[in-house]
Protein backbone atom coordinates (compact mmCIF):
# COMPACT_ATOMS: atom_id res chain seq x y z
CA UNK A 1 0.00 0.00 0.00
CA UNK A 2 1.95 3.00 1.23
CA UNK A 3 5.65 2.36 0.85
CA UNK A 4 8.41 4.74 1.81
CA UNK A 5 8.67 6.16 -1.71
CA UNK A 6 5.02 7.19 -1.71
CA UNK A 7 5.37 8.52 1.81
CA UNK A 8 8.13 10.91 0.65
CA UNK A 9 5.91 12.19 -2.15
CA UNK A 10 3.02 12.65 0.27
CA UNK A 11 5.21 14.67 2.63
CA UNK A 12 6.52 16.80 -0.24
CA UNK A 13 2.90 17.39 -1.26
CA UNK A 14 2.01 18.47 2.26
CA UNK A 15 4.94 20.92 2.25
CA UNK A 16 3.78 22.44 -1.03
CA UNK A 17 0.24 22.63 0.33
CA UNK A 18 1.58 24.65 3.27
CA UNK A 19 3.33 26.93 0.82
CA UNK A 20 0.03 27.69 -0.95
CA UNK A 21 -1.72 28.04 2.40
CA UNK A 22 0.52 30.74 3.86
CA UNK A 23 -0.51 33.61 1.53
CA UNK A 24 -4.09 32.33 1.63
CA UNK A 25 -4.09 32.64 5.42
CA UNK A 26 -3.60 36.35 4.75
CA UNK A 27 -6.41 36.32 2.18
CA UNK A 28 -4.13 36.33 -0.88
CA UNK A 29 -4.73 33.80 -3.63
CA UNK A 30 -1.20 33.29 -4.92
CA UNK A 31 -0.45 30.52 -7.41
CA UNK A 32 3.29 31.22 -7.38
CA UNK A 33 4.33 28.12 -5.43
CA UNK A 34 5.44 26.09 -8.51
CA UNK A 35 7.71 28.94 -9.61
CA UNK A 36 9.64 28.96 -6.33
CA UNK A 37 9.59 25.15 -6.17
CA UNK A 38 11.16 25.10 -9.65
CA UNK A 39 13.78 27.65 -8.65
CA UNK A 40 14.76 25.59 -5.59
CA UNK A 41 14.89 22.34 -7.54
CA UNK A 42 16.89 23.84 -10.38
CA UNK A 43 19.34 25.41 -7.95
CA UNK A 44 19.92 22.06 -6.21
CA UNK A 45 20.22 20.24 -9.54
CA UNK A 46 22.76 22.73 -10.84
CA UNK A 47 24.89 22.94 -7.71
CA UNK A 48 25.10 19.22 -7.05
CA UNK A 49 25.99 18.21 -10.61
CA UNK A 50 28.98 20.53 -11.04
CA UNK A 51 32.29 18.94 -11.95
CA UNK A 52 32.68 15.16 -11.95
CA UNK A 53 29.42 14.16 -10.35
CA UNK A 54 29.64 11.88 -7.38
CA UNK A 55 26.76 9.49 -6.93
CA UNK A 56 26.31 10.50 -3.30
CA UNK A 57 26.21 13.88 -1.65
CA UNK A 58 26.63 14.72 2.00
CA UNK A 59 23.66 15.79 4.05
CA UNK A 60 25.53 18.96 4.96
CA UNK A 61 25.76 19.92 1.30
CA UNK A 62 22.02 19.41 0.88
CA UNK A 63 21.34 21.57 3.92
CA UNK A 64 23.62 24.20 2.39
CA UNK A 65 21.62 24.05 -0.83
CA UNK A 66 18.42 24.44 1.15
CA UNK A 67 19.78 27.55 2.83
CA UNK A 68 20.83 28.97 -0.53
CA UNK A 69 17.46 28.11 -2.06
CA UNK A 70 15.66 29.77 0.84
CA UNK A 71 17.76 32.89 0.37
CA UNK A 72 17.34 33.00 -3.38
CA UNK A 73 13.57 32.42 -3.34
CA UNK A 74 13.15 34.95 -0.52
CA UNK A 75 15.01 37.55 -2.58
CA UNK A 76 12.95 36.71 -5.66
CA UNK A 77 9.72 36.83 -3.66
CA UNK A 78 10.61 40.24 -2.23
CA UNK A 79 11.43 41.53 -5.69
CA UNK A 80 8.24 40.19 -7.23
CA UNK A 81 6.04 40.60 -4.17
CA UNK A 82 6.50 44.32 -3.66
CA UNK A 83 4.78 45.38 -6.88
CA UNK A 84 2.48 42.35 -7.07
CA UNK A 85 1.03 42.47 -3.57
CA UNK A 86 -0.30 45.95 -4.16
CA UNK A 87 -2.61 44.08 -6.48
CA UNK A 88 -5.53 42.22 -5.14
CA UNK A 89 -7.69 39.27 -5.83
CA UNK A 90 -7.80 38.52 -9.51
CA UNK A 91 -4.78 40.65 -10.39
CA UNK A 92 -2.65 38.84 -7.84
CA UNK A 93 -3.75 35.41 -9.07
CA UNK A 94 -3.08 36.37 -12.69
CA UNK A 95 0.33 37.86 -12.00
CA UNK A 96 1.45 34.83 -10.01
CA UNK A 97 0.40 32.59 -12.92
CA UNK A 98 2.51 34.85 -15.12
CA UNK A 99 5.45 34.33 -12.78
CA UNK A 100 5.05 30.54 -13.00
CA UNK A 101 5.03 30.69 -16.79
CA UNK A 102 8.03 33.03 -16.99
CA UNK A 103 10.10 30.80 -14.69
CA UNK A 104 9.06 27.70 -16.65
CA UNK A 105 10.02 29.21 -20.02
CA UNK A 106 13.28 30.52 -18.54
CA UNK A 107 14.28 27.08 -17.23
CA UNK A 108 13.34 25.61 -20.61
CA UNK A 109 15.47 28.09 -22.55
CA UNK A 110 18.42 29.08 -20.39
CA UNK A 111 21.66 27.60 -21.78
CA UNK A 112 22.66 25.86 -18.53
CA UNK A 113 19.45 24.22 -17.29
CA UNK A 114 19.37 21.30 -19.70
CA UNK A 115 16.51 22.45 -21.94
CA UNK A 116 13.50 20.19 -22.33
CA UNK A 117 15.26 17.07 -21.06
CA UNK A 118 16.50 18.77 -17.91
CA UNK A 119 19.29 17.77 -15.57
CA UNK A 120 20.01 14.11 -14.84
CA UNK A 121 21.97 12.18 -12.25
CA UNK A 122 21.38 14.45 -9.30
CA UNK A 123 23.32 12.82 -6.44
CA UNK A 124 21.47 11.31 -3.50
CA UNK A 125 22.12 12.11 0.15
CA UNK A 126 20.31 8.92 1.21
CA UNK A 127 20.58 5.48 -0.35
CA UNK A 128 17.20 4.33 0.99
CA UNK A 129 13.80 6.05 0.71
CA UNK A 130 13.55 5.76 4.49
CA UNK A 131 16.24 8.43 4.79
CA UNK A 132 14.11 10.77 2.71
CA UNK A 133 11.04 9.95 4.77
CA UNK A 134 12.81 10.92 7.98
CA UNK A 135 14.42 14.00 6.45
CA UNK A 136 11.34 15.42 4.73
CA UNK A 137 9.23 14.34 7.70
CA UNK A 138 11.38 16.43 10.02
CA UNK A 139 11.10 19.32 7.58
CA UNK A 140 7.31 18.99 7.63
CA UNK A 141 7.28 18.75 11.41
CA UNK A 142 9.39 21.90 11.63
CA UNK A 143 7.19 23.75 9.13
CA UNK A 144 4.05 22.63 10.95
CA UNK A 145 5.45 23.71 14.31
CA UNK A 146 6.35 27.11 12.88
CA UNK A 147 2.86 27.50 11.41
CA UNK A 148 1.33 26.50 14.73
CA UNK A 149 3.40 29.16 16.46
CA UNK A 150 2.55 31.61 13.72
CA UNK A 151 -1.19 31.22 14.16
CA UNK A 152 -0.96 32.25 17.78
CA UNK A 153 1.41 35.13 17.09
CA UNK A 154 0.77 38.78 16.34
CA UNK A 155 1.77 38.21 12.71
CA UNK A 156 -0.58 35.25 12.34
CA UNK A 157 -3.48 37.17 13.84
CA UNK A 158 -2.73 40.10 11.55
CA UNK A 159 -2.85 37.68 8.61
CA UNK A 160 -6.24 36.37 9.75
CA UNK A 161 -7.49 39.93 10.17
CA UNK A 162 -6.42 40.83 6.62
CA UNK A 163 -8.13 37.72 5.31
CA UNK A 164 -11.37 38.74 6.97
CA UNK A 165 -11.23 42.42 6.05
CA UNK A 166 -8.19 44.08 4.59
CA UNK A 167 -9.47 47.63 4.82
CA UNK A 168 -10.58 47.27 8.41
CA UNK A 169 -7.27 45.76 9.46
CA UNK A 170 -5.43 48.64 7.85
CA UNK A 171 -7.61 51.02 9.83
CA UNK A 172 -6.66 49.10 12.97
CA UNK A 173 -3.04 49.93 12.31
CA UNK A 174 -1.88 46.68 10.74
CA UNK A 175 0.81 47.27 8.14
CA UNK A 176 -1.01 45.16 5.57
CA UNK A 177 1.64 45.30 2.85
CA UNK A 178 4.35 44.13 5.22
CA UNK A 179 2.22 41.29 6.58
CA UNK A 180 1.19 40.11 3.11
CA UNK A 181 4.79 40.33 1.91
CA UNK A 182 6.00 38.30 4.90
CA UNK A 183 3.48 35.57 4.16
CA UNK A 184 4.44 35.58 0.47
CA UNK A 185 8.18 35.36 1.25
CA UNK A 186 7.64 32.55 3.76
CA UNK A 187 5.58 30.68 1.18
CA UNK A 188 8.33 31.11 -1.42
CA UNK A 189 11.08 29.93 0.93
CA UNK A 190 9.11 26.83 1.88
CA UNK A 191 8.51 26.00 -1.80
CA UNK A 192 12.17 26.59 -2.65
CA UNK A 193 13.42 24.33 0.15
CA UNK A 194 10.90 21.65 -0.84
CA UNK A 195 12.22 21.90 -4.41
CA UNK A 196 15.74 21.10 -3.20
CA UNK A 197 14.60 17.94 -1.41
CA UNK A 198 12.43 16.92 -4.38
CA UNK A 199 15.29 17.36 -6.87
CA UNK A 200 17.54 15.03 -4.90
CA UNK A 201 14.78 12.54 -4.29
CA UNK A 202 13.65 12.48 -7.94
CA UNK A 203 17.23 12.27 -9.20
CA UNK A 204 16.30 14.41 -12.23
CA UNK A 205 14.84 17.87 -12.73
CA UNK A 206 13.28 19.72 -15.65
CA UNK A 207 11.03 22.65 -16.47
CA UNK A 208 7.86 20.54 -16.21
CA UNK A 209 8.33 20.18 -12.44
CA UNK A 210 7.14 23.75 -12.00
CA UNK A 211 4.28 23.98 -14.48
CA UNK A 212 0.80 25.43 -14.13
CA UNK A 213 -0.44 21.89 -13.36
CA UNK A 214 1.44 21.96 -10.07
CA UNK A 215 -0.35 25.19 -9.19
CA UNK A 216 -3.65 23.38 -9.72
CA UNK A 217 -2.78 20.26 -7.73
CA UNK A 218 -1.32 22.20 -4.81
CA UNK A 219 -4.35 24.48 -4.79
CA UNK A 220 -6.50 21.35 -4.61
CA UNK A 221 -4.55 20.27 -1.48
CA UNK A 222 -5.57 23.46 0.31
CA UNK A 223 -9.16 23.47 -0.95
CA UNK A 224 -9.74 19.86 0.11
CA UNK A 225 -7.96 20.14 3.43
CA UNK A 226 -9.26 23.56 4.30
CA UNK A 227 -7.51 26.88 4.60
CA UNK A 228 -8.52 27.80 8.14
CA UNK A 229 -5.64 26.02 9.83
CA UNK A 230 -2.21 24.79 8.76
CA UNK A 231 -3.40 21.24 9.41
CA UNK A 232 -5.79 21.51 6.45
CA UNK A 233 -3.26 21.78 3.63
CA UNK A 234 -1.06 19.16 5.31
CA UNK A 235 -3.92 16.64 5.43
CA UNK A 236 -5.01 17.67 1.93
CA UNK A 237 -1.49 17.26 0.55
CA UNK A 238 -0.97 13.86 2.18
CA UNK A 239 -4.37 12.52 1.10
CA UNK A 240 -4.44 13.82 -2.46
CA UNK A 241 -0.89 12.67 -3.19
CA UNK A 242 -1.68 9.20 -1.88
CA UNK A 243 -5.06 9.02 -3.62
CA UNK A 244 -3.88 8.21 -7.17
CA UNK A 245 -1.69 5.40 -5.81
CA UNK A 246 -4.39 3.98 -3.61
CA UNK A 247 -6.92 4.22 -6.42
CA UNK A 248 -4.63 2.87 -9.07
CA UNK A 249 -7.54 1.52 -11.16
CA UNK A 250 -8.83 5.03 -11.88
CA UNK A 251 -5.55 5.81 -13.62
CA UNK A 252 -6.39 8.46 -16.19
CA UNK A 253 -9.24 9.77 -14.08
CA UNK A 254 -6.76 11.14 -11.55
CA UNK A 255 -6.75 14.69 -12.87
CA UNK A 256 -10.50 14.62 -13.45
CA UNK A 257 -10.87 13.83 -9.74
CA UNK A 258 -8.51 16.66 -8.84
CA UNK A 259 -10.56 18.98 -11.01
CA UNK A 260 -13.77 17.85 -9.34
CA UNK A 261 -12.25 18.54 -5.92
CA UNK A 262 -11.40 22.09 -6.96
CA UNK A 263 -14.73 22.56 -8.73
CA UNK A 264 -17.08 21.15 -6.11
CA UNK A 265 -15.08 21.70 -2.92
CA UNK A 266 -15.79 25.43 -2.55
CA UNK A 267 -19.46 24.81 -3.41
CA UNK A 268 -20.23 21.98 -0.99
CA UNK A 269 -17.46 22.13 1.61
CA UNK A 270 -16.42 25.78 1.69
CA UNK A 271 -14.22 25.16 4.73
CA UNK A 272 -12.56 21.95 3.61
CA UNK A 273 -12.05 18.81 5.69
CA UNK A 274 -10.36 20.48 8.63
CA UNK A 275 -12.92 23.04 9.73
CA UNK A 276 -12.68 25.31 12.78
CA UNK A 277 -15.64 23.38 14.24
CA UNK A 278 -13.73 20.12 13.91
CA UNK A 279 -10.69 21.64 15.59
CA UNK A 280 -12.94 22.89 18.37
CA UNK A 281 -14.22 19.39 18.89
CA UNK A 282 -10.70 18.06 19.09
CA UNK A 283 -10.64 19.81 22.42
CA UNK A 284 -8.00 21.98 23.89
CA UNK A 285 -5.50 20.89 21.26
CA UNK A 286 -6.12 23.77 18.87
CA UNK A 287 -3.68 24.26 16.04
Amino acid sequence: MIDNGLLVQMILGALLGLSVYLPMAAGQLSLATPAFYAVGGTLAALLSTQGDTPSAISLGAVLGEMLLAAGLTAALALLVGLPVLRLRGIYLAISTIALVEIVRVAILNLPFTGGATGIFGIPQPFQQPLGYVLFSGSLLALAGWLCQRLEASRLGRSMAAIRDDELASRCMGIHTTRVKLTAFVASAMLAGVTGVVAAHYLNTWNARQGSFDVAITTLAFVILGGSRSWLGPVIGGLLLTALPELLRPVGDLRLVLFGLVILLGPVFFPQGLITPALLERLGRWKP
Binding site: L29, P83, V84, L87, G89, I90, Y91, A93, I94, S95, I97, A98, L99, E101, I102, V105, A106, L108, N109, L167, F212, I216, L219, A220, I223, D252, L253, L255, V256, F258, G259, L260, V261, I262, L263, L264, G265, P266, V267, P270
Partner: protein, 313 residues
Protein backbone atom coordinates in the same frame (compact mmCIF):
# COMPACT_ATOMS: atom_id res chain seq x y z
CA UNK B 1 12.47 42.94 -47.06
CA UNK B 2 9.25 44.95 -46.96
CA UNK B 3 7.41 41.84 -48.14
CA UNK B 4 8.92 39.77 -45.35
CA UNK B 5 7.90 42.37 -42.80
CA UNK B 6 4.39 42.58 -44.25
CA UNK B 7 4.14 38.80 -44.05
CA UNK B 8 5.25 38.82 -40.42
CA UNK B 9 2.78 41.55 -39.57
CA UNK B 10 -0.13 39.81 -41.28
CA UNK B 11 0.62 36.55 -39.48
CA UNK B 12 0.96 38.45 -36.22
CA UNK B 13 -2.37 40.16 -36.79
CA UNK B 14 -4.00 36.80 -37.50
CA UNK B 15 -2.90 35.29 -34.19
CA UNK B 16 -3.63 38.62 -32.52
CA UNK B 17 -7.20 38.27 -33.76
CA UNK B 18 -7.54 34.96 -31.95
CA UNK B 19 -6.03 36.43 -28.77
CA UNK B 20 -8.61 39.19 -29.03
CA UNK B 21 -11.40 36.59 -29.24
CA UNK B 22 -10.19 34.86 -26.08
CA UNK B 23 -9.73 38.14 -24.24
CA UNK B 24 -13.19 39.33 -25.31
CA UNK B 25 -14.61 36.15 -23.84
CA UNK B 26 -13.01 37.02 -20.50
CA UNK B 27 -14.13 40.62 -20.85
CA UNK B 28 -17.83 39.81 -21.30
CA UNK B 29 -17.94 37.79 -18.08
CA UNK B 30 -15.70 40.14 -16.18
CA UNK B 31 -17.81 43.16 -17.03
CA UNK B 32 -21.07 41.62 -15.82
CA UNK B 33 -19.79 39.64 -12.82
CA UNK B 34 -16.38 41.10 -11.98
CA UNK B 35 -14.80 37.64 -12.04
CA UNK B 36 -12.55 35.68 -14.38
CA UNK B 37 -13.70 32.41 -15.90
CA UNK B 38 -10.60 30.24 -15.74
CA UNK B 39 -12.32 27.53 -17.78
CA UNK B 40 -11.92 29.71 -20.89
CA UNK B 41 -8.79 27.87 -22.03
CA UNK B 42 -10.54 24.51 -21.75
CA UNK B 43 -13.48 25.81 -23.79
CA UNK B 44 -10.92 26.88 -26.38
CA UNK B 45 -9.61 23.31 -26.55
CA UNK B 46 -13.15 21.97 -26.75
CA UNK B 47 -13.91 24.28 -29.69
CA UNK B 48 -10.85 22.98 -31.50
CA UNK B 49 -11.88 19.34 -31.02
CA UNK B 50 -15.50 19.95 -31.96
CA UNK B 51 -14.46 21.78 -35.13
CA UNK B 52 -12.19 18.88 -36.00
CA UNK B 53 -15.05 16.42 -35.49
CA UNK B 54 -17.59 18.41 -37.50
CA UNK B 55 -15.10 18.81 -40.34
CA UNK B 56 -15.13 15.03 -40.58
CA UNK B 57 -11.89 14.38 -38.71
CA UNK B 58 -11.31 10.90 -37.30
CA UNK B 59 -10.65 10.36 -33.62
CA UNK B 60 -9.68 7.28 -31.65
CA UNK B 61 -11.85 7.60 -28.51
CA UNK B 62 -8.65 6.64 -26.73
CA UNK B 63 -8.34 3.35 -28.58
CA UNK B 64 -11.92 2.22 -27.90
CA UNK B 65 -13.19 3.17 -31.34
CA UNK B 66 -10.18 3.51 -33.64
CA UNK B 67 -10.81 5.70 -36.65
CA UNK B 68 -14.23 6.78 -35.48
CA UNK B 69 -15.64 9.96 -36.97
CA UNK B 70 -18.87 11.64 -37.92
CA UNK B 71 -20.28 10.26 -41.17
CA UNK B 72 -20.47 13.71 -42.75
CA UNK B 73 -18.05 16.60 -42.90
CA UNK B 74 -19.60 20.05 -42.70
CA UNK B 75 -18.28 23.01 -44.66
CA UNK B 76 -15.72 24.83 -42.58
CA UNK B 77 -17.83 27.87 -41.72
CA UNK B 78 -20.69 25.69 -40.54
CA UNK B 79 -18.33 23.44 -38.57
CA UNK B 80 -16.86 26.50 -36.85
CA UNK B 81 -20.31 27.82 -36.02
CA UNK B 82 -21.62 24.52 -34.64
CA UNK B 83 -18.43 23.99 -32.64
CA UNK B 84 -18.67 27.50 -31.23
CA UNK B 85 -22.28 26.82 -30.22
CA UNK B 86 -21.15 23.59 -28.54
CA UNK B 87 -18.47 25.42 -26.55
CA UNK B 88 -21.02 28.09 -25.68
CA UNK B 89 -23.39 25.44 -24.35
CA UNK B 90 -20.64 23.97 -22.18
CA UNK B 91 -19.84 27.52 -21.07
CA UNK B 92 -23.44 27.77 -19.84
CA UNK B 93 -22.95 24.51 -17.96
CA UNK B 94 -19.79 25.92 -16.35
CA UNK B 95 -21.84 28.91 -15.20
CA UNK B 96 -24.44 26.61 -13.72
CA UNK B 97 -21.95 24.47 -11.79
CA UNK B 98 -19.01 26.71 -10.98
CA UNK B 99 -20.51 30.20 -10.67
CA UNK B 100 -24.22 30.12 -9.91
CA UNK B 101 -24.08 28.22 -6.57
CA UNK B 102 -21.42 30.55 -5.19
CA UNK B 103 -23.32 33.62 -6.36
CA UNK B 104 -26.52 32.39 -4.73
CA UNK B 105 -24.67 31.90 -1.46
CA UNK B 106 -23.13 35.35 -1.75
CA UNK B 107 -19.68 33.80 -1.35
CA UNK B 108 -16.38 35.58 -1.83
CA UNK B 109 -16.12 36.26 -5.61
CA UNK B 110 -12.54 35.00 -5.63
CA UNK B 111 -13.82 31.49 -4.90
CA UNK B 112 -15.32 31.31 -8.39
CA UNK B 113 -11.81 31.72 -9.73
CA UNK B 114 -10.97 28.43 -8.03
CA UNK B 115 -14.15 26.61 -9.05
CA UNK B 116 -13.85 27.70 -12.69
CA UNK B 117 -10.25 26.52 -12.68
CA UNK B 118 -11.58 23.18 -11.47
CA UNK B 119 -14.18 23.14 -14.24
CA UNK B 120 -11.43 23.74 -16.77
CA UNK B 121 -9.29 20.93 -15.35
CA UNK B 122 -12.23 18.51 -15.49
CA UNK B 123 -13.07 19.53 -19.06
CA UNK B 124 -9.54 19.21 -20.40
CA UNK B 125 -8.99 15.85 -18.77
CA UNK B 126 -12.33 14.51 -19.97
CA UNK B 127 -11.23 15.57 -23.47
CA UNK B 128 -8.01 13.68 -22.89
CA UNK B 129 -9.91 10.60 -21.72
CA UNK B 130 -12.17 10.63 -24.77
CA UNK B 131 -9.79 11.80 -27.45
CA UNK B 132 -6.43 10.64 -26.16
CA UNK B 133 -3.42 12.81 -25.45
CA UNK B 134 -2.08 12.77 -29.01
CA UNK B 135 -2.37 15.71 -31.38
CA UNK B 136 -4.58 15.75 -34.45
CA UNK B 137 -3.88 17.46 -37.76
CA UNK B 138 -6.98 18.70 -39.52
CA UNK B 139 -8.06 16.80 -42.61
CA UNK B 140 -6.25 18.26 -45.58
CA UNK B 141 -8.54 20.10 -47.95
CA UNK B 142 -11.38 19.92 -45.46
CA UNK B 143 -14.83 20.36 -46.88
CA UNK B 144 -15.29 23.82 -48.31
CA UNK B 145 -11.61 24.68 -48.08
CA UNK B 146 -10.37 22.42 -50.87
CA UNK B 147 -11.16 24.83 -53.69
CA UNK B 148 -9.24 27.69 -52.06
CA UNK B 149 -5.60 28.25 -53.04
CA UNK B 150 -3.00 27.24 -50.47
CA UNK B 151 -1.62 30.74 -50.17
CA UNK B 152 -2.36 34.25 -51.38
CA UNK B 153 -0.11 37.06 -52.59
CA UNK B 154 -0.91 40.30 -50.75
CA UNK B 155 1.25 43.30 -51.64
CA UNK B 156 4.08 40.95 -52.60
CA UNK B 157 3.86 39.00 -49.34
CA UNK B 158 2.88 35.36 -49.51
CA UNK B 159 0.51 34.41 -46.75
CA UNK B 160 -1.41 31.20 -46.17
CA UNK B 161 -5.08 31.48 -47.11
CA UNK B 162 -6.06 30.05 -43.77
CA UNK B 163 -4.30 32.92 -41.98
CA UNK B 164 -6.28 35.47 -44.04
CA UNK B 165 -9.43 33.56 -43.20
CA UNK B 166 -8.45 33.56 -39.53
CA UNK B 167 -8.01 37.32 -39.54
CA UNK B 168 -11.25 37.89 -41.46
CA UNK B 169 -13.37 35.62 -39.27
CA UNK B 170 -12.07 37.01 -36.00
CA UNK B 171 -12.49 40.57 -37.29
CA UNK B 172 -16.05 39.70 -38.28
CA UNK B 173 -16.81 38.16 -34.88
CA UNK B 174 -15.30 41.11 -33.02
CA UNK B 175 -17.15 43.66 -35.15
CA UNK B 176 -20.42 41.77 -34.80
CA UNK B 177 -20.06 41.58 -31.04
CA UNK B 178 -19.21 45.29 -30.74
CA UNK B 179 -22.17 46.30 -32.92
CA UNK B 180 -24.47 44.04 -30.92
CA UNK B 181 -23.27 45.47 -27.60
CA UNK B 182 -23.64 49.00 -28.92
CA UNK B 183 -26.99 48.84 -30.66
CA UNK B 184 -29.16 45.90 -29.77
CA UNK B 185 -31.60 45.82 -26.90
CA UNK B 186 -29.95 42.80 -25.27
CA UNK B 187 -26.50 44.31 -25.82
CA UNK B 188 -27.60 47.46 -24.04
CA UNK B 189 -29.02 45.34 -21.23
CA UNK B 190 -25.63 43.67 -20.88
CA UNK B 191 -23.87 47.02 -20.69
CA UNK B 192 -26.36 48.19 -18.10
CA UNK B 193 -25.69 45.14 -15.93
CA UNK B 194 -21.97 45.70 -16.36
CA UNK B 195 -22.36 49.26 -15.15
CA UNK B 196 -24.46 48.43 -12.10
CA UNK B 197 -26.22 45.10 -11.68
CA UNK B 198 -28.53 46.22 -8.86
CA UNK B 199 -29.80 49.30 -10.65
CA UNK B 200 -30.21 47.34 -13.87
CA UNK B 201 -32.33 44.76 -12.05
CA UNK B 202 -34.45 47.49 -10.49
CA UNK B 203 -35.01 48.89 -13.97
CA UNK B 204 -36.49 45.57 -15.01
CA UNK B 205 -33.52 43.94 -16.68
CA UNK B 206 -33.33 40.21 -16.06
CA UNK B 207 -29.74 40.16 -14.88
CA UNK B 208 -29.63 36.38 -14.49
CA UNK B 209 -30.47 36.01 -18.18
CA UNK B 210 -27.83 38.58 -19.06
CA UNK B 211 -25.22 36.67 -17.08
CA UNK B 212 -26.13 33.45 -18.88
CA UNK B 213 -25.95 35.22 -22.22
CA UNK B 214 -22.49 36.47 -21.31
CA UNK B 215 -21.35 32.92 -20.57
CA UNK B 216 -22.87 31.61 -23.80
CA UNK B 217 -21.19 34.28 -25.93
CA UNK B 218 -17.93 33.97 -24.04
CA UNK B 219 -17.85 30.20 -24.56
CA UNK B 220 -18.66 30.71 -28.25
CA UNK B 221 -15.77 33.15 -28.66
CA UNK B 222 -13.38 30.70 -27.01
CA UNK B 223 -14.69 27.81 -29.12
CA UNK B 224 -14.37 29.84 -32.30
CA UNK B 225 -10.79 30.72 -31.38
CA UNK B 226 -9.98 27.06 -30.75
CA UNK B 227 -11.49 26.01 -34.07
CA UNK B 228 -9.57 28.67 -35.97
CA UNK B 229 -6.23 27.83 -34.36
CA UNK B 230 -6.89 24.14 -34.92
CA UNK B 231 -7.49 24.76 -38.63
CA UNK B 232 -4.47 26.98 -38.99
CA UNK B 233 -1.94 25.04 -36.89
CA UNK B 234 -3.24 21.71 -35.49
CA UNK B 235 -4.62 20.30 -32.27
CA UNK B 236 -1.59 19.64 -30.12
CA UNK B 237 -3.44 17.60 -27.50
CA UNK B 238 -6.26 18.61 -25.13
CA UNK B 239 -4.04 21.03 -23.25
CA UNK B 240 -3.42 23.26 -26.25
CA UNK B 241 -6.17 25.65 -25.27
CA UNK B 242 -4.76 26.25 -21.79
CA UNK B 243 -1.80 28.23 -23.08
CA UNK B 244 -4.14 30.34 -25.23
CA UNK B 245 -6.35 30.82 -22.19
CA UNK B 246 -3.39 32.00 -20.14
CA UNK B 247 -2.19 34.32 -22.91
CA UNK B 248 -5.72 35.65 -23.20
CA UNK B 249 -5.42 36.67 -19.54
CA UNK B 250 -2.27 38.61 -20.39
CA UNK B 251 -4.12 40.31 -23.26
CA UNK B 252 -7.01 41.09 -20.94
CA UNK B 253 -4.73 42.81 -18.44
CA UNK B 254 -2.82 44.57 -21.22
CA UNK B 255 -6.01 46.03 -22.66
CA UNK B 256 -7.59 46.78 -19.32
CA UNK B 257 -10.00 44.50 -17.46
CA UNK B 258 -13.55 44.89 -18.69
CA UNK B 259 -12.75 47.04 -21.73
CA UNK B 260 -13.99 45.75 -25.10
CA UNK B 261 -11.79 47.98 -27.30
CA UNK B 262 -8.94 47.22 -24.89
CA UNK B 263 -9.26 43.48 -25.48
CA UNK B 264 -9.15 44.00 -29.26
CA UNK B 265 -6.18 46.37 -29.22
CA UNK B 266 -4.42 44.23 -26.61
CA UNK B 267 -4.88 41.12 -28.74
CA UNK B 268 -3.42 42.78 -31.81
CA UNK B 269 -0.49 44.23 -29.88
CA UNK B 270 0.26 40.82 -28.37
CA UNK B 271 0.03 39.01 -31.73
CA UNK B 272 2.28 41.53 -33.45
CA UNK B 273 4.79 41.59 -30.59
CA UNK B 274 5.08 37.80 -30.71
CA UNK B 275 5.43 37.78 -34.49
CA UNK B 276 8.29 40.28 -34.30
CA UNK B 277 10.38 38.08 -32.00
CA UNK B 278 13.33 36.88 -34.09
CA UNK B 279 13.51 33.16 -34.87
CA UNK B 280 16.68 32.69 -32.77
CA UNK B 281 14.77 33.63 -29.64
CA UNK B 282 11.57 31.78 -30.51
CA UNK B 283 11.88 29.62 -27.37
CA UNK B 284 11.22 32.73 -25.32
CA UNK B 285 8.11 33.66 -27.27
CA UNK B 286 5.78 32.06 -24.73
CA UNK B 287 7.24 34.17 -21.95
CA UNK B 288 6.71 37.46 -23.80
CA UNK B 289 3.00 37.68 -23.05
CA UNK B 290 3.64 37.21 -19.34
CA UNK B 291 6.55 39.64 -19.27
CA UNK B 292 4.24 42.23 -20.86
CA UNK B 293 1.55 41.32 -18.33
CA UNK B 294 3.94 41.88 -15.47
CA UNK B 295 5.11 45.19 -16.84
CA UNK B 296 1.54 46.39 -17.31
CA UNK B 297 0.51 45.35 -13.81
CA UNK B 298 3.41 47.23 -12.32
CA UNK B 299 3.31 50.33 -14.52
CA UNK B 300 -0.33 50.76 -15.42
CA UNK B 301 -2.67 48.31 -13.70
CA UNK B 302 -5.69 49.80 -15.47
CA UNK B 303 -4.28 48.60 -18.81
CA UNK B 304 -4.00 50.41 -22.13
CA UNK B 305 -7.64 51.39 -22.50
CA UNK B 306 -9.11 50.51 -19.12
CA UNK B 307 -10.81 52.91 -16.80
CA UNK B 308 -8.90 53.73 -13.66
CA UNK B 309 -10.83 52.02 -10.92
CA UNK B 310 -11.38 53.65 -7.60
CA UNK B 311 -10.73 51.54 -4.56
CA UNK B 312 -14.10 50.26 -3.51
CA UNK B 313 -14.87 49.70 0.12
Amino acid sequence: MIEALLQTLLNGAASGGVYALVALGYTLIFSVLGVINFAQGALFSLGGYLTYLFLGGKIGVNGALPGWGLPVGLPFWLALLVAALGSGAVGLLVERIAFAPLRRRGAEPLLSLITSLGAGVVLVNLLQLLMGAEGYAFPQGAAGLAHLPESLLIGGARIRTIQVLLLAISALAVAGLSLWLENSRSGKAMRAVAEDATTATLLGINSVAVVRLAFLLSGMLAGLGGGLIGMSVSLAGPYFGISYGLKGLAVLVLGGLGSVPGAIVGGLVMGLAEALIPAEASGWRDALAFAILFAVLVLRPSGLLGRRQLEKV
